[in-house]
């Protein structure tokens, strides 16, 4: 949106379009624009650049209501990673392991996806590349058993961080959501206070279904934050606005590529700039 534009109908329509194209969702977009319209009128704003600043401020404030950081204070800190198939869980875990290893933390990984073809192999390749230990069982074994083992290992080896990979699952698969709920219960039982983070991995190209994902995973395992992946593409990941607003789940990390370095902290200002960019 060019600056110094009149705040006419075209302007407001264009603003709605940008938000909808960014996957903010039609209802969230219309509500946001109508709120901004009211505020602009109240504050007697007549310049489009002032309105853009207002909307950026509005969205930034929404995200800044929540804790955007990863809590690493417990020892070991247990991070459970969940999400639908193909979202980027395994790769994001490799990235986190790499980051924390660089910070001189002792990191252990758990191969909790015992189902998908070569899932354990995939995480093993990453673990070797990053230089961290991987706790794994045979393909087809019980994920709960792997998690149990991994927590014992983390305690015994005095690890700082244990990151648990899980199989992708679509949120409408009741039996699979029950399974992940059980995994969470095992973690709680084996270490009071754990899991310290439950991160839902969401692909930035996802549309409105991300809200259903967040809602149902929140019910099953409770979710402390989102890792928004594949922001290096052309999708803007606008669905995280509705998720923050309706479900109060913050975005903590973003994925911007396929390499172990391609992880960044979520910055609301960068995010909103890119959305309107």
């Amino acid at each position: 949106i060019k600056s110094n534009r009149k705040l006419d109908d075209d302007f407001w329509e264009e603003l709605e379009e940008i938000l909808i194209y960014a996957d903010v969702g039609v209802n969230t977009s219309l509500n946001l624009v109508s709120n901004i319209q009211k505020k602009a009128k109240k504050q007697k704003l007549y310049d489009s650049s002032e309105v853009m600043d207002l909307i950026k401020e509005e969205v930034t404030n929404l995200f800044n209501n929540y804790d955007n950081s990863i809590n690493l204070t417990s020892s070991p800190t247990i991070i459970l990673v969940v999400g639908v198939n193909g979202a980027g869980k395994t790769t994001s875990i490799a990235k986190m392991a790499h980051r924390y290893k660089k910070e001189n933390k002792k990191v252990i990984l758990a191969a909790g996806d015992t189902f998908r073809a070569a899932a354990i192999d995939q995480l093993q390749v990453w673990a070797s590349r990053v230089g961290v230990e991987l706790i794994k069982h045979q393909e087809g074994s019980d994920p709960g058993a792997v998690v149990f083992d991994a927590i014992s290992a983390a305690k015994a080896r005095k690890a700082d961080i244990l990151i648990i990979d899980t199989a992708g699952r679509l949120q409408n698969k009741t039996n699979l959501m029950k399974e992940i709920g059980k995994v969470r219960n095992i973690i709680e039982r084996e270490l009071p206070g754990a899991p310290h983070e439950v991160l839902l991995v969401v692909d930035a190209t996802t549309g409105q279904n991300a809200i259903s994902q967040a809602r149902i995973f929140k019910e099953a395992t409770s979710v402390s934050g989102i890792i928004l992946t594949k922001l290096d593409g052309t999708a803007k990941g606008g669905i995280v606005l509705a998720v923050a607003e309706e479900l109060e789940i913050p975005v903590k990390l973003i994925g911007i590529g396929e390499g172990m370095e391609d992880l960044r902290d979520f910055s609301p200002t960068d995010f909103i700039e890119a959305l309107f960019g």
Binding site: V125, N172, T205, G233, E258
Partner: protein, 290 residues
């Protein structure tokens, strides 16, 4: 879904008799909202709604006792037409025929390639899976494990150039009596020129019978950008829509079809290798409309 919403729009008409321009305008707004909520692309929604509007001001609606239902029928029929029409079967010519599976990271290419192989094997063909993803950790292993599960051979050459692997697979197919080659490629961004060139090179060398874009059914507005870019670069022959066993409305199907004109040939309905079905445009239309 849309039916209830349109019923509300026309509820106040009871007894009024005639439908006005404003009534049609409100109805079209409900159609637009429903489609946007279903993740159909904004521009596709605009074009589609204007088509529907032309019919909505026609006699079939204006003289109907249930105009809301009539409009829903028009929307459903127009959408079914848009997504259906052309043949949804694979078109395989010379032997060995070549099928390429392409698309964004995590869309479901590797799984869909194996599912396709499974289908073709059951139809009495002799498919060969080809491992051209040399980047993703254990990608080749993943395809090999899947191939083993369905008794389909997997051609792999480890860490070699995907183009060389693809070329070598043709020779291998010929000398091993395999009549269909299914090439699994690495996930990539449509804006990654180098990786898009890699696909163009494979296409030039092998002249595939089918180039199928694998799209995740939960994709949002970006579906148009993705489908358009892959189509412009490669000339797609079809689409595979995956993870339709989820609860997403799947508007990406309409977007991708509308922008490329390519038929959706198959849908993925699960993680198992028998979970590949033929695409039904009317069922998809009902799903998108909620």
């Amino acid at each position: 879904g849309l039916s209830d919403r349109l019923q509300d729009v026309f509820r106040k008409l009871k007894g009024k008799g005639k439908i006005t321009e404003d009534d049609v305008k409100s109805a079209m707004r409900e159609v637009r909202l429903a489609l946007l909520e279903a993740d159909v692309n904004f521009k596709v929604v605009k074009d589609f709604t204007s088509k529907v509007r032309e019919r909505a001001v026609g006699q079939e609606v204006l003289t109907s006792l249930t105009p809301g239902q009539q409009i829903v029928k028009i929307v459903h029929d127009e959408m079914t037409d848009l997504m259906g029409g052309s043949e949804s079967k694979l078109v395989l010519g010379k032997s060995p025929a070549v099928i390429m599976a392409v698309g964004l990271q995590g869309a479901g290419k590797t799984t869909s390639a194996a599912k396709l192989a499974n289908n073709l094997l059951k139809q009495g063909r002799r498919p060969l899976l080809v491992a051209c993803d040399i980047y993703r950790p254990a990608a080749i292993k993943q395809l090999q494990v899947l191939g083993e599960q369905i008794n389909v051979p997997v051609f792999a050459m480890g860490q070699n150039k995907p183009l060389d692997i693809a070329k070598a697979s043709v020779e291998f197919a010929k000398s091993n009596n395999r009549d269909i080659i299914i090439i699994d490629t690495a996930g990539r961004l449509h804006i990654d020129e180098e990786l898009m060139d890699e696909l163009k090179d494979i296409k030039s060398a092998l002249n595939p019978d089918e180039i199928l874009l694998v799209v995740d059914a939960m994709t949002g507005q970006d579906a148009v950008n993705i489908a358009e870019a892959f189509n412009v670069d490669l000339g797609l022959t079809g689409l595979i829509l995956t993870k339709l066993d989820g609860d997403s409305r799947g508007g990406a199907a309409l977007s991708a079809k509308a922008v490329t004109g390519c038929p959706i040939k198959f849908v993925g309905m699960g993680e198992k290798l028998d979970a590949l079905e033929v695409f039904h445009p009317d069922r998809m239309a009902s799903r998108i409309l909620g």
